[in-house]
C-alpha cells in the first residue's frame, strides 16, 4: 500500500520567514505548502496523508493558538509544531497542553527544525494510521447484523457460546454460526485478534 506523500504546512505571516522555511524543508526533501494566514489555512480541506503544521504562534487576526483551537473543534487532526519568539514560554506551555507536538524558538538550528518536523510527521502518520485502522474496524463492525453485533459484544467480553445462547435465547448452534460470521466480517484470525481489535475501538463502542 503506497502512502500519501508527507507534507509540511507552513503558516506564517512573515514572508521572509515563510519562504526560508519552505526552502529549507524542501531542500531536506519535504513536500511543502505555505499559507500567509491562519484563515487561509482553515479554508483548506484536511490533508489525508502524514502532515506537520509549522505554525507561527503569533499572527495578526487569527493567532497560532486560535488556529490550533479551531482545528481541534473541526476534528481536523494534524501534528502542530509551533514557532515561537523570544519570551513566549507561557504561550508555548499552553500550546503543548493543547496537544502540540513541539515548539521551536526563533532563530533555530536546522536540525532542531528538521527533527521537530520529522517527529511531527511520524506522530501524525501513526495518529492517522490509528484513525484509519479504527475507521476500518468500525466499517467492519457496521457490516454486522444486529444479532451478530450482540454476539460479537458477548464474545469479546469473554462469554462462552453456551452463555451467549442463553443470554440471547437462541441455540448454541446459531451462536456458533453468528460467531463464524463475525470472525469473517471483522477479519479476525483468532479470538485474541478479535479482542485486540475490539480494544482498539473500545472508545467507539462505549460512545455507541
Amino acid at each position: 500500500m503506497t502512502e500519501i506523500e508527507p507534507t509540511v504546512f507552513i503558516v506564517d505571516d512573515d514572508e521572509s520567514v515563510r519562504k526560508s522555511l519552505s526552502r529549507l524543508l524542501k531542500s531536506a526533501g519535504n513536500k511543502v505548502e505555505t499559507y500567509s494566514s491562519a484563515i487561509e489555512f482553515l479554508k483548506r480541506n484536511p490533508y489525508e496523508g502524514p502532515a506537520c503544521l509549522l505554525l507561527d504562534i503569533r499572527m495578526p487576526e487569527l493567532s497560532g493558538l486560535e488556529l490550533q483551537e479551531a482545528l481541534a473543534k473541526k476534528n481536523h487532526t494534524i501534528s502542530i509544531v509551533f514557532i515561537t519568539g523570544h519570551g513566549s514560554i507561557p504561550l508555548s506551555v499552553q500550546a503543548m497542553k493543547a496537544g502540540a507536538v513541539d515548539f521551536i524558538e526563533k532563530p533555530f538550528e536546522e536540525q532542531t527544525l528538521l527533527d521537530a518536523v520529522n517527529l511531527a510527521i511520524k506522530k501524525d502518520r501513526s495518529a492517522k494510521q490509528k484513525q484509519a485502522d479504527i475507521r476500518k474496524i468500525q466499517k467492519r463492525i457496521e457490516s454486522l447484523t444486529r444479532q451478530e453485533r450482540k454476539v460479537f459484544t458477548f464474545v469479546v467480553s469473554g462469554l462462552l457460546n453456551k452463555q451467549i445462547a442463553s443470554e440471547l435465547g437462541i441455540s448454541e448452534r446459531t451462536v456458533k454460526a453468528h460467531r463464524a460470521q463475525v470472525m469473517r466480517k471483522i477479519q479476525a484470525k483468532s479470538l485474541a485478534d478479535l479482542v485486540r481489535l475490539a480494544e482498539k475501538i473500545q472508545d467507539y463502542l462505549s460512545q455507541d
Binding site: S20, L21, R58, G85, G87
Partner: protein
C-alpha cells in the same frame, strides 16, 4: 503864591522829565539785565525791581502774582515792602483763592485793571471781602494790573499804599504795566527753563538709572548715549564704549557673531523693534547672555536719528531655561527608554524574523549546493534573500539605535501615516500579547508635517501602550484600539488613539498630564507629560477625553508643513 505855585509846577515838570528819563534808562538796563540773567538769580532781581518801582512810586508794598492755569487761585511770587511796613500785616503771604475775593478775581481774570484810589469805594456788597481785608491790614489804596503773556499763566503786578490814598495817574499805571510785563516775561522764561532743566534731569535719571544697559547709537556708528549699567553688565566703562564703537561687537562670542550680523540694523525708520540673544565675554572673562532689543529712532518729521537699543543680562534666566530644557530632554529620554523596555519583546521578535530567515536560507543553500541537488539558480535566489533580510535586520537595529540615541529635536517633512504604521508594526507583538486588535483609519490625503520622527513615534507608542493597558481588565471580545489620522483644520492634522477600556476618571483628567503623576502601579508618571511637551514643541496640542460609549481617546494635533495647505 502863584510864583510859588509856578515854581512848584516847574519843579514838578523838571522832576517829571528827570524821572521819566531815569525810568526809560532803568527800563532798558533792566531789559538787558534780565536777558542775560541766569535763572537762579532772577528771583533776587525781581525783588530788586519791585523795590525800585515801589520806591519810585512811593508805595509801601509792591508784589508780583501768578495765577494757576484754572485761574481759581493766585500766589504772590515776589514781594517788596517799604521800611516800617510790618510784614505780619499781610495775612496771605501765599495762596489766595477765588472764593476769598470773588470781585478781585472777576476783574483780573477778565483782564480788567483793578485800581482802587480809596478803599471806601469797595464798601459795596460785591467787593465787601476785599474792603474788609484792606481795612483789617490797613491798606488805604492799591492797584493790581493783570498781565497776560502768550502761553503763560496769568500774572499780575500790584502796589499798596498803607498811609495814604493815591489817585494812580495814568503814567503810573503805564509804568507799572511795563515793569510788570518785563518781570512776568522773565518769570515765565525762567519757568520754562526750569521746566526743561527738570525734564533734562528726569530723562537723564530715567536713562542712567535703568538697570539694563541702554544706548543710543548714531548712524555713523558712534554712541550718542551709553547708560552706566554697561559697566555692571560688561565690565567695560561708558568711555570705553564711546572711544571704541565696535567694542560691543568685539565682545560677542565668535559662535554668536552671526546672530548679531544677521540682526537687522537697516537704515529705515519704520523697522519694528527686534530682539536677539547672544553671549558676550565680559572684561573679566565671564560669559554672559544678553538679550538685545533695538529700534530706529524716528524724528517727528520722518527722519532718522540712529538706533536706540537696550541690552539685558539674561544669563540667569537663560541658565534656567537651559537647565529646564536639559531636564526635559533627560526625562524624554528616560521615558523613551522605559517605553523601549516595555517593547523589548516586540523588538526581539522584530529582529528574530530576519535572523531566522537568514539562518534557514543559509542552511537551505548549503543543501542546494551539496549532494545531488546542485540547484544554483535556487542558491542565487537564496543569497539575494539573505542580503534582503540582512538589510532588514540592520534597519531594525538602526531604528533601535536611533530610538535609544539622545538626539535633540530634528524637524523634517514627514507623513504621520507612515509614522503610525511604523509604530503599529513596532508594537504589534505587544498588542497581540495583550490580545488587543489594532484598527487603523488613516486619511490617505494627509498633508505632510514638520516633525521629529523619533519623538512623534515615542508619543504614539506611549498612546498605544496606554490604551492597550487600559483594556487589561476588559472582556477580550470588547478590546479594540483604533488609531485615526485626519485633517483637523486648515493648518493642522490630528492623530487619535481610542481604546475601549475603563476610561479616565474625571479627577485624573487634568493630572495625568503632570510629570510624575501616575495611576499605574510601577509607572514612572512621565509618559503623558513628555508626550504633551513633545507635541507642544511641535506647535501642537495633546488632550484626552472619554468616549461617549466606553474607553478614552487621546488625540494630538501638529501643524501642517508650510508650503502645503489642505
Amino acid at each position: 503864591l502863584l510864583l510859588l505855585h509856578q515854581h512848584r509846577l516847574r519843579r514838578r515838570t523838571e522832576y517829571q522829565l528827570r524821572d521819566s528819563l531815569q525810568f526809560e534808562q532803568k527800563l532798558s538796563k533792566l531789559s538787558s539785565e534780565f536777558i542775560n540773567l541766569s535763572s537762579e538769580k532772577i528771583d533776587a532781581k525781581v525783588i530788586d525791581v519791585l523795590a525800585w518801582i515801589g520806591q519810585l512810586m512811593q508805595a509801601d508794598r509792591s508784589h508780583m502774582f501768578r495765577f494757576n492755569w484754572d485761574r481759581t487761585e493766585f500766589r504772590i511770587t515776589h514781594l517788596w515792602e517799604a521800611e516800617g511796613v510790618r510784614k505780619d500785616n499781610i495775612v496771605f503771604p501765599g495762596l489766595v483763592v477765588k472764593d476769598a475775593f470773588p470781585w478781585l478775581f472777576g476783574n483780573l481774570v477778565n483782564g480788567k485793571d483793578v485800581i482802587v484810589s480809596d478803599i471806601e469805594i469797595l464798601s459795596s456788597e460785591k467787593s465787601f471781602n476785599e474792603y474788609q481785608y484792606c481795612r483789617e491790614i490797613g491798606i488805604q489804596s492799591f492797584i493790581i494790573l493783570p498781565i497776560q503773556i502768550e502761553s503763560a499763566p496769568l500774572c499780575a503786578i500790584g502796589l499798596d499804599f498803607i498811609h495814604q490814598k493815591n489817585a494812580w495817574p495814568r503814567e503810573v499805571q503805564d509804568r507799572l504795566r511795563i515793569m510788570g510785563e518785563i518781570v512776568a516775561n522773565t518769570i515765565v522764561r525762567r519757568h520754562a527753563e526750569k521746566k526743561s532743566e527738570v525734564a533734562k534731569i528726569r530723562y537723564r535719571t530715567v536713562a542712567d538709572f535703568t538697570y539694563d544697559w541702554e544706548y543710543w547709537e548714531n548712524d555713523g556708528g558712534t554712541f550718542e548715549y551709553v547708560s552706566p549699567s554697561c559697566k555692571r553688565i560688561t565690565g567695560y566703562t561708558i568711555e570705553e564704549f564711546k572711544t571704541t564703537p565696535s567694542l560691543l561687537k568685539d565682545i560677542i562670542l565668535p559662535k554668536d557673531k552671526a546672530i548679531w550680523e544677521s540682526h537687522y540694523h537697516g537704515s529705515g525708520t519704520k523697522a519694528k523693534p527686534s530682539d536677539i540673544q547672544f553671549r558676550i565675554k565680559r572684561k573679566d572673562g565671564q560669559i554672559r547672555w544678553i538679550e538685545h532689543v533695538c529700534q530706529p529712532v524716528a524724528t517727528t518729521d520722518g527722519g532718522r536719528l540712529g538706533i536706540r537699543a537696550s541690552n539685558r543680562d539674561i544669563t540667569e534666566r537663560k541658565q534656567a531655561e537651559i537647565n529646564a530644557q536639559r531636564h526635559r530632554e533627560e526625562l524624554t529620554y528616560i521615558s523613551r527608554m522605559t517605553t523601549l523596555g516595555e517593547l523589548s519583546a516586540s523588538m526581539a521578535h522584530e529582529l528574530n524574523q530576519p535572523l531566522t530567515a537568514i539562518l534557514n536560507n543559509a542552511n537551505a543553500a548549503l543543501r542546494f549546493i551539496s549532494g545531488d541537488l546542485k540547484d544554483f539558480d535556487e542558491v542565487n535566489e537564496i543569497l539575494h534573500d539573505i542580503i534582503k533580510d540582512n538589510r532588514r535586520a540592520s534597519s531594525i537595529i538602526k531604528k533601535l539605535r536611533t530610538l535609544m540615541s539622545k538626539k535633540k529635536l530634528e524637524f523634517l517633512r514627514v507623513n504621520l501615516n507612515e509614522i503610525v504604521k511604523d509604530v503599529v508594526r513596532l508594537t504589534d507583538r505587544e498588542t497581540a500579547n495583550r490580545d488587543v486588535p489594532v484598527f487603523l483609519d488613516l486619511d490617505n490625503d494627509l498633508p505632510h508635517i514638520l516633525g521629529d520622527v523619533i519623538h512623534l513615534e515615542q508619543v504614539i507608542i506611549n498612546l498605544i501602550l496606554n490604551g492597550t493597558e487600559a483594556m487589561a481588565t476588559i472582556d477580550h471580545q470588547l478590546r479594540e484600539l483604533k488609531i485615526l489620522t485626519m485633517v483637523h483644520d486648515k493648518n493642522h492634522v490630528k492623530v487619535s488613539v481610542s481604546d475601549q477600556g475603563t476610561g479616565i476618571e474625571e479627577v485624573h483628567m487634568i493630572s495625568i498630564f503632570e510629570a510624575f503623576y501616575t495611576t499605574k502601579p510601577g509607572g514612572l508618571g512621565i509618559g503623558l507629560s513628555i508626550c504633551r511637551s513633545i507635541i507642544e514643541a511641535h506647535g501642537g496640542r495633546l488632550w484626552a477625553e472619554n468616549n461617549p460609549d466606553r474607553g478614552a481617546t487621546v488625540s494630538f494635533t501638529v501643524p501642517v508643513a508650510t508650503g502645503e495647505s489642505v
